[in-house]
Every structure is written in structure tokens, then in C-alpha cells.
Symmetry: C2
Subunit: 343 residues, 2 copies
DNA sequence: CTGTTAGCGCTTTCAG
DNA sequence: CTGAAAGCGCTAACAG
């Protein structure tokens, strides 16, 4: 009899009327409240079905003070960030755990710190995963004091749950590997030397070298600019600054390594015979590069997974570690030689 | 004097009290209502500032019936979908236009059609972008009848605004290119032959071949399975089914093309001298492959951008085209030869 | 077991 | 120009 409501969605009140119960009963049926007669519940559920009723997440959220949305904020001054394969992997890991928890993913790539603070205080999300280290300290400080649970991914800040990669350790690993491969004249190339992660990698590299009595001369460290061929330019600089070319170069990341490799070859040097080359990231391309690139891999998915589960933990009121450091793994392919072969 | 509220956020009422006005006035100030004295507005805004007040998007949404959230649903039975570089590009395009419109992106990779319908009717989003063709017709039918504006990306359905790639046209382009390069014995390899897009590509390929009086024998069409080496397996099948190997093969996508290439080489055939090979997608790897892969490119970002702006248009009450077909572009690299060279 | 009622925080008539 | 009050759809006391 009753005409089917086409447009404006049915509300809990419509269902109540249809099932001849009070709205509280409908709510109870929907929330699996134990104190409800099975027959009544069935009737209510049937009414929901025929009316095509679905709870408004807005009204529910307003009442409960929660949305089941988790914000993923990726700070970047550069263009759409999902395109960065690194972030894509991290997000994949996040998604993996949020899906199991039936949370929704609200993704924003933000340019300004204010946008982040707004997202944090609008009530649009129950918690925030902030990815990347491109966010100002004072913004982080405000975030720390916010009511909203926040976890930092690939960034650390005192007072905020943080999950990071051991960039310093990666640098040490690189140093030891290049040393073991017989390297004696070292270099470090990067797109820039401001990125805190790059600096940490460089720091670790230096420390491993020093332990072995080697070192990195100032001319052997270069930045080539944040573009496609930053590594290329950096490598050229090193090559022209040094009297003798290096025989072991560590690049701050895989793209830099690949483009540095071109510079090395243009100079007539062979890889890995004349110079060993090592990147960081293990991007997908690395394995398919010619020659396959030696690199230091880290678990990007795991970064996302860990961050997400820590956030979920905080939302559930659990204690979670303030700082989690994820280890890296050396992947020797064909731009460097393992120590064994060199002996 | 008043202690700063640390936890539970300030509400519009707190601001009203602080600014000694009514809550309606606060609301007006926040919404840039013209009918408000500049002095009052300033006072209210100042109060917001000192209290660190931000409107609850939930309450606002409940009242206004809108959330400023746009859902992006990616249907896939397989694992986290953001990892698929194709989707990542599409999402990048979507993000690009939604960001300008100050909309938030709610991303869900869904396995079941029901999840999609739930997302569509919970009121969590104002509109829905459904990406990919892995969604059941009856689900689409329900979506069509929903109150929520929906646009399909890389999928078409009668009655729903759709944005697609001209897969058939891509197949035709492939056929003509391979023909022009001197091909005479053609083959088509894919991971599967069920995917509607793959079928459309095959259909276009066939039609171009037929126009030229050529054709594709049944043994020259093979699927190798949805795995890493589906193209490899498919190519092997073709190679062993045919008395004479083909000299021009069209792969349903780039990964299939790359892995088919391995099979061709294992058979001792050279590319492109003995056999020309062409993929579809122009994935990032294609240009960096050895040899660089000829392929048919399409504007994945544009797909996302177009879909998103159509959705925005619908939300704004504008008319938008029911179906938009995006053209593809042939990219000749080193696994095939352009017609000129062959003559 | 079930119904009535009071808000969650906001926007928006409707009166001043 | 500003305030009081109603109500968006839901959940959670509180009574029956």
C-alpha cells in the first residue's frame, strides 16, 4: 500500500512506524542489543529491508562522537601524492588494517599545515595518520595537544606516537656493504641534503665508514636538485670535484642511484667493476632496472600497517609504543658486489 | 579566568557565550552571512580563535544533508588496490579536481557489491566515483536508482554517468599499427579473456585486421592466467599451437606484453625483427623496460579528472554527458616498428 | 521487553 | 541586525 519513498531516504522513524514499534526498539535491533525479543528484532529488520533503510552515519556519529573515519594526511608541497609509489605502498598497508577494522579511509594530500589542523579538529575523522616528514614542528606541537589521536608515519615527534624507518641504520648498512665489497673511495649523492631522512642516511653512512677508518671528503657529497636527474647532476659534481673517481657510491634513494648510474657510465666507468652503486628504497623499478640495482629495502607496507594498528590501538584505549623503528634490509643485485665475491 | 577546555572541543554555544551573542549570530559569522554587523562578526571570529573553535562537520552535515566527502570505490577482489599503479593514477586525477573543490576523498577498496551499496546509502559521502569494471550489473542497477549521484570510471552502465577509455579503438589502433609495420601473422595474448576491457581491445584488434583482409586464428588468441606471468604462459600457448610463429602480437596490457616478450625470446625469436610486440596502458615501467615497450597509452589522470568533474557537476545540479569516451594514443618505442620504417 | 524523551552541534525560520 | 527555538536522525537513559 504505502508508496515507496523514492528520494529522501527512510529514517529510523519510518522503520518504527512500519514495524509498529518505537524508534528505540529499531535502534536496539540495529545495534544487536541483547534485550530485545527475537520476534520483534526480526520484524524490525524486515521493515528495514523493505524500506531500504540504512542508518545515517552522520546522525549516528554526532550522537556517538565518532565517525569510523580515519584521516590519512600526506604532507607535500608537490602534486598529487598518491602517485608517489612510496606513499601508495604505505597507504596500501594502512588500508589493509583499516579494512579489517571496518574503518573508512579519508585521504588528503595537504599543502599547508593549517589544513592539517583543520582536518584534525572538524570532527570528520576519529584519528589521524600523518605521513611524511614535510610538516612544520609548530603544527606537530598543536597536533600533540589536540584531543584527536594522531600517529606519525615516517616522521617522529616527541609526544606523538611515531613509526619510522631506521634511516641511520640504512646508512650504516650501506657503508658496511660498500666497505665489504672492497670500496676505498666513497661518495654520497642525493637530490637534496635538507631532507631529514637523507641526512640520517648520510649520517649512518659516515659513521660506518669512520668505524672502518675510512671517510667521506666534502667534495664526495653532493646534491643535484629535486628533479628527475638530481642524482645525475650530483654524480657529475662529485666526478668533476674529485681527482680520482670514487669506487663506491651511496645514493640517498633509488631514483638518485639510477640517474647517478647514467653519469658514471657517461664518464666511461663500469658498474660495478669500476664503481659500486647502492640506492635506498627498493622501488619496483629497481629490480627491473638495467642493471638491476642494489639497494636497501624497507617494508613500506609494514610502515603503514604498523602506524594504522597503533592508531587503532590508541582509539581502543590501549597503550602503544611511543616510537617504533623499523629495520631495513640490504638487497644486493648487480650494481654492487657482496663481500664474499670480493675476497 | 575561564579555564581552557582541554579535551571536549568547544561548541558554537561556548563561542556565543564568550562573544556575548546568540548562537545564531555565531553561525552567521561563520557562514559569511551578509546580514551581520562587522563589529559583531569580528568579535565572534575572535572568540572562535581564542577558544580554538571549529565547526563540527558532523552536526553541520546532519543539518545540511551534505558532508563534502566524495567516495571513491574501487572494486576488486584482489588485495589493496591503491597499489595498482593504474588506479593510483586515476585517483591522482580525482584528487586533483576534488582538492580544488575542497572536497574530501573517502577511499574504499571493496570486495562485495553490498559494501558499495552500504557506502552509497549511509550518508557518509555526497557522491560516489566507482572505479573499474569489476562490479555486478544488479549492484549497478541499484546504484542507478539510488538518490546519490554516482559516476562510473572505466566502466559504463546505462543510466549512470560513465567515463571510459576507448578500448575498442585502442584495439583498432593496435591492429593498424601492426599491419603498417608489416605484420602478417597476428596473435593476441592476455591474462584472461573475461575482462570486458580486454575483450573490447581484442574486438577492435580483430576489426582492424578484418578491414585489411587479415585475421586472427583461434589458436592465435590465448589467456595465460591472472598472475605475474600470465602473458608468458599465453605466449607459450600461442607459440606451441601455431605451426609458424606470429610476427605481430598484441598484448591486452603492458605486463602481459612484457612477460610475453620473455616467451618470445626464449623461443629464440628477436623483437622487433622477428616479431613485433605491442601492449596497452603505457605503465611507467614500459618506457624503462629493455627494450622500451611499444604500447597504447591512455590518459589515466584524465579519466579521474573527468569523472570527478562530472560528479561535481551533478552535485551542482548541472547536466553532464551520460557517456564520455576518452581516446587513446599509440606510442611506438622499440618492440615494434612504425609503418614508415617498414616500407 | 518496549516506548518516551532528551539531547549530540549545527543551521534556519520567525520574531523582535 | 540579533536572539529564541525547532529539528536534522540517531542513541541512551529512564520509565513503564
Amino acid at each position: 500500500m504505502a508508496a515507496v519513498r523514492r528520494s529522501s531516504r527512510a529514517t529510523i522513524r519510518d522503520v518504527a512506524r512500519h514495524a509498529r514499534v518505537g524508534i528505540a526498539t529499531v535502534s536496539r535491533a540495529l545495534n544487536d542489543d541483547p534485550g530485545i525479543a527475537p520476534a520483534t528484532r526480526a520484524r524490525v529488520l524486515a521493515a528495514c529491508e523493505t524500506l531500504g533503510f540504512r542508518r545515517s552515519s552522520l546522525a549516528r556519529g554526532l550522537k556517538l562522537g565518532a565517525t569510523d573515519n580515519i584521516g590519512v594526511a600526506i604532507m607535500s608541497r608537490h602534486a598529487p601524492v598518491i602517485l608517489n609509489p612510496f606513499y601508495a605502498e604505505v597507504i596500501g598497508g594502512i588500508e589493509e588494517v583499516l579494512e579489517d577494522a571496518a574503518k573508512h579511509l579519508l585521504i588528503s594530500s595537504l599543502k599547508r599545515g593549517d589544513d592539517l589542523l583543520e582536518l584534525a579538529s572538524e570532527g570528520r575523522v576519529d584519528g589521524l595518520l600523518v605521513v611524511g616528514c614535510d610538516v612544520a614542528p609548530q603544527v606537530l606541537a598543536q597536533l600533540r595537544d589536540a584531543a584527536l589521536p594522531v600517529v606519525l608515519i615516517d616522521n617522529a615527534f616527541d609526544g606523538i606516537t611515531s613509526v619510522v624507518i631506521d634511516h641511520h641504520g640504512a646508512g650504516r648498512q650501506a657503508g658496511r656493504h660498500l666497505l665489504a665489497g672492497g670500496g676505498t673511495r666513497f661518495a654520497f649523492v642525493a637530490e637534496n641534503l635538507e631532507n631529514p631522512n637523507f641526512r640520517a642516511r648520510l649520517g649512518g653512512f659516515r659513521s660506518a665508514l669512520q668505524e672502518a677508518g675510512s671517510q667521506l671528503s666534502p667534495e664526495a657529497v653532493a646534491a643535484g636538485g629535486d628533479s628527475w636527474d638530481g642524482g645525475f647532476v650530483a654524480m657529475q659534481r662529485v666526478l668533476s670535484a674529485l681527482a680520482t673517481p670514487p669506487d663506491a657510491v651511496f645514493a640517498a634513494n633509488d631514483p638518485a642511484a639510477m640517474s647517478a648510474l647514467r653519469a658514471v657510465r657517461e664518464r666511461g666507468l663500469r658498474v660495478p667493476d669500476d664503481v659500486a652503486l647502492l640506492g635506498v628504497d627498493d622501488i619496483h623499478l629497481a629490480a627491473h632496472h638495467v642493471p638491476p640495482l642494489s639497494t636497501i629495502a624497507f617494508d613500506k607496507r609494514g610502515l603503514g600497517r604498523t602506524g594504522a594498528s597503533h592508531l587503532l590501538g590508541r582509539l581502543a584505549g590501549h597503550d602503544v609504543p611511543a616510537l617504533t623503528v623499523l629495520a631495513t634490509e640490504l638487497v644486493v643485485r648487480e650494481t654492487s658486489r657482496s663481500g664474499d665475491g670480493a675476497r
